[in-house]
Symmetry: D2
Amino acid sequence: MTRARLRDLGITVGHLPTGRYNAITDVPGISVGYKTLVAERPHVVRSGVTVILPRDDARWEDYAFAGIFSFNGYGEMTGSHWIEEAGLLTTPIAITNTHSVGIVRDAILRYAVESGYAAPFYLPVVAETDDSWLNAAHTFPVKPEHTVEALKSAKSGPIAEGNVGGGTGMICHHFKGGMGTSSRVVETRSGAFTVGALVQTNYGVRQLLRVDGVPVGREIGADRVPLARVFPNEGSGSIIVIVATDAPLLPDQCKRLARRATVGLARVGGTGHDGSGDIFLAFATGNHVPAHPDGAVDLRMLPHDQMDPLFDGTAEAVEEAIVNALTAAGDTTGQEGRMAHALPLDELKAVMKKHGRSR
Amino acid sequence: MTRARLRDLGITVGHLPTGRYNAITDVPGISVGYKTLVAERPHVVRSGVTVILPRDDARWEDYAFAGIFSFNGYGEMTGSHWIEEAGLLTTPIAITNTHSVGIVRDAILRYAVESGYAAPFYLPVVAETDDSWLNAAHTFPVKPEHTVEALKSAKSGPIAEGNVGGGTGMICHHFKGGMGTSSRVVETRSGAFTVGALVQTNYGVRQLLRVDGVPVGREIGADRVPLARVFPNEGSGSIIVIVATDAPLLPDQCKRLARRATVGLARVGGTGHDGSGDIFLAFATGNHVPAHPDGAVDLRMLPHDQMDPLFDGTAEAVEEAIVNALTAAGDTTGQEGRMAHALPLDELKAVMKKHGRSR
Amino acid sequence: MTRARLRDLGITVGHLPTGRYNAITDVPGISVGYKTLVAERPHVVRSGVTVILPRDDARWEDYAFAGIFSFNGYGEMTGSHWIEEAGLLTTPIAITNTHSVGIVRDAILRYAVESGYAAPFYLPVVAETDDSWLNAAHTFPVKPEHTVEALKSAKSGPIAEGNVGGGTGMICHHFKGGMGTSSRVVETRSGAFTVGALVQTNYGVRQLLRVDGVPVGREIGADRVPLARVFPNEGSGSIIVIVATDAPLLPDQCKRLARRATVGLARVGGTGHDGSGDIFLAFATGNHVPAHPDGAVDLRMLPHDQMDPLFDGTAEAVEEAIVNALTAAGDTTGQEGRMAHALPLDELKAVMKKHGRSR
Amino acid sequence: MTRARLRDLGITVGHLPTGRYNAITDVPGISVGYKTLVAERPHVVRSGVTVILPRDDARWEDYAFAGIFSFNGYGEMTGSHWIEEAGLLTTPIAITNTHSVGIVRDAILRYAVESGYAAPFYLPVVAETDDSWLNAAHTFPVKPEHTVEALKSAKSGPIAEGNVGGGTGMICHHFKGGMGTSSRVVETRSGAFTVGALVQTNYGVRQLLRVDGVPVGREIGADRVPLARVFPNEGSGSIIVIVATDAPLLPDQCKRLARRATVGLARVGGTGHDGSGDIFLAFATGNHVPAHPDGAVDLRMLPHDQMDPLFDGTAEAVEEAIVNALTAAGDTTGQEGRMAHALPLDELKAVMKKHGRSR
């Protein structure tokens, strides 16, 4: 379903090397699953569910540290209170559309309870962006079973981007948006670590879009994505960013990483418009916190003054993940005959070349 | 369903006068609705939904300012990100059990969409405490229609307490808990205001229970609620507190009020145990923020240095609301033959009298 | 200078055992120093500086984790941004009066620079409460050298309370306040730990004062002992709480502990009045973070679900530390002939006995 | 002292029009004062104090709303607790070097007390960046009287940039940094408003420096500012951003504005490196909160959904203010023969022209 990735076009952003797949799944143990919902009748459905499993852990008993940053809180991410309190990610993460956050949240809890997992209950992390422009969201097409299908489909290795999972019906910088991913490998005095990002992009205005600093949105697209949108607030939308690393970070350090997603977003042209739920979560698999430890848990901590490479890597991975969502997502028709145009790849290549940025 | 209210027993806490009904509904415009679910088969159900409508506003277009404080975040309150960002309460508030937060959240959104309310979507505020000791929560008995029934049942004036709505299956200080409410009328240099509290209590250990400082939990109940509970963490549970006032507060000031709920909780014996989701929301109806204003909105602000009466009133109302939940809730049998004993009222009166606190 | 400690009077609060000295210095490695400033001319001085050194570490290179909670932010605690960001306490803590926070803060930095400590600069943690009712604060009697004297005087073991150090000129619940301390020893599945509190008390109104729930302030009212202070906002003042433990906590867990200081404060009668800077810092010495680590740092973490004993211990230690400040501080005359009366110990004993709380 | 401003070079960033002076002083009522300290012996001094007075208000009795965002908290901004609590800016703001935050903070309080202003005390807002590479900071050359001189020198209209006030000894992207300012005029449905930024820049690495997206730092400067710095952490430093507007914002909305400073910083190449104190404060003069109101205060609020122009304007003003600091600051020698090279303006123009960005 992926049209192209940015690097396929001979364009790069940033300085740091990517991981093997240039994906969040380069962080060992992480898997991603999608359930994509596309239908034409009785209602036009362009929606779905994306899930991220933080590690190989069949019974969710090996917690990772995590932290959240809300750059602009016009959105939802359930499970935030416990992550803010304890810094622990105890469930998979899901991303879906605004109308279905609750269904998906309870479905994850139910899945765990019915699978016989240990805890009496869970506080699942589910985030959203709004697909009600293309998708008949008011018909509530996302069902509990779709979440379970997404969970069961999760895999490591290369993953799809663009019009898949929760990203199926999304718009980004007035072009077709969706899922995107990227990763970086960074060196520290404590060793090499991978940092990866997965984004569900549904934010932004065309004229602010930039790729590696080149004002792409000013130069292309005016013919196909005129600035007037149907939305009352033209910049509304949202972006959810999930950052993952195998570095041994503490919860506060995850929050620091989450905050750096803002840098990647700003580079591409995000300003956190009022109607945008720009909520970022970072988790780190380098420490293992058992669900039911007997005594004190042994941990390691990357010193704060070795975090700069991870900060730089996070900014780059988020930046590239967003652009990958744009290059991957194809033209999409939606309800009421609406059309979301894909970012034109030839024009992108041309403008980058003109600015000396592509091979 | 209410057994008794604290003041019916000749016991008072605090110094300030109550409102007419000694309830959150003393704040003009506020209504409360319950859907109580009780069944014996095929599963033992002791659960439900409580809703608070912030004001007479048939189409949810007259927003109130609000603020949230999480004293201990082992719980869920959806909609928190937007309240933290913008300080606006844009939907009713619901409280239910942990397993059903999502169902209830989406049901509120769906209700608004299907009612033709103006916004393309909503970010409903839904909180929870865990009733899985008495209630067969793993069978997920709370359904979307129960939320709608609770919404439609909402009324002002006197409201039920104890084993109703979301509080049906809850435990508090090892006695039967549930819903409780109380209010205070306070004087400021800007006039008189009402502050009310509604609580869903499901936290605490017996030996820390105090009423007006009297160590009630040390003196009664050892025979019927021995300290060992089935829960791995005996203090686990949660308490959700909703504080409302008609004072013209700004969002930050609502957050200040929410933080004072901690004082009321601490007076009764709460310490925010690890497994307790102690999340407090305060909202103020004294200002009106239209959903779709054309220009700048006129507001008033109670000066910060006039807030002490509201702080004191919040502490007292929360303190009394918690105790009202205990005096109101009756003995309850639950799944697997479990028994939650009500706080014995005669013994409570006796111990308060012994300590010189009742008439 | 200490008149008496609460337990000397045959009164106890809480259930848990104290450490050897019932002081924050029961946490191994912690020392406390005071510089007390008392003069009659040219200005009436009742002021000083209190310092807490987090551990035996001559060059401040062995950092402890820390977290801050501001229950009511009408006050100052410098160094908060770095603790919020990184969770690291990198300097001693000082507490002084409002007018001298800056002087003391720079004096600590200068002391480190001139002592040849390793960092090019420091971000010292200095907090305050306002002594300008008794003390001629407008003459700025606290000087840099007083901070150095306080640092050099720091010792472990039993420490003075009441009218010493930063607490010299303070008022609490309209009685003479000042410094107070207490500690608890708690058992967890990971072993026994000590938690201690040191408070500088300058908050509160008479009628809300309680000891072990007994409404002492109602019974020893203004008719018995005249109220100190006539501020427009009578509850203004502030309380600074420092909580310390040898448990191996992470930064987030320190913040959880800091938040529980609210419970101890509420038990004594604090409600966080508007003009009160109620800012709490907790640090944990159980982990060691070197200032300049080469690689990843090995840590241990007390599991969250073993923290309840520390929460309970924090609440009790803070509660008792506040009351100790009241029982320790003696009658004090101040500028303009003002008089702050000490809490009368005989009457306290009588009231507690009447309520069945003392031997 | 200003070499040049970016627009003098024929280069612009952003889309929105500037105010008259393209400075924070375009916001009516705001004045800025500097005390610049330069000496060669006995120690090399390159330091100073910058002050921002939020409005014409001789006795500091007309408070403005304010909010703070710490993007990376390795720094100090005193007064943060009260702004977080109450959203009120009650004093001028000062920015100086790290070693002198306390001196400057107490000097402001003392100035108010000695001027007979109404409050018994103040909680001044003072921030810092570290000039100890060029400046003999360890000799503590900033004195209380310098703060008073800066306060008294404050004026509206055009203001100096570069090597002045608190910015005298700062480094930015490895070039000479310092003070910079810029402004934007934005249109909303509630009318036109001005948003201005003042920055003290001391952060960043050369290779990430961008101007309007052009990778300036990759193309120039390698000969004069090789990447190796004396600092152990090469990205360390800090940036303080003050954002001001005459829009009628509430405290939460000021915080939203402060958060958008991150976008401007990210566009120029900031990533919030570990050793950087990137702390942003925004205040709004459109509402007036009297220091001692009798009754409720009348306010206006710009609706949240009209804030996008202010968000865009903040991002642009911060972006341009940072670059202005670089174009304004000249070559500076410091202690131990150290040399901070100014950003070469001819080369900047050439590289911008090459990328099609200048006239």
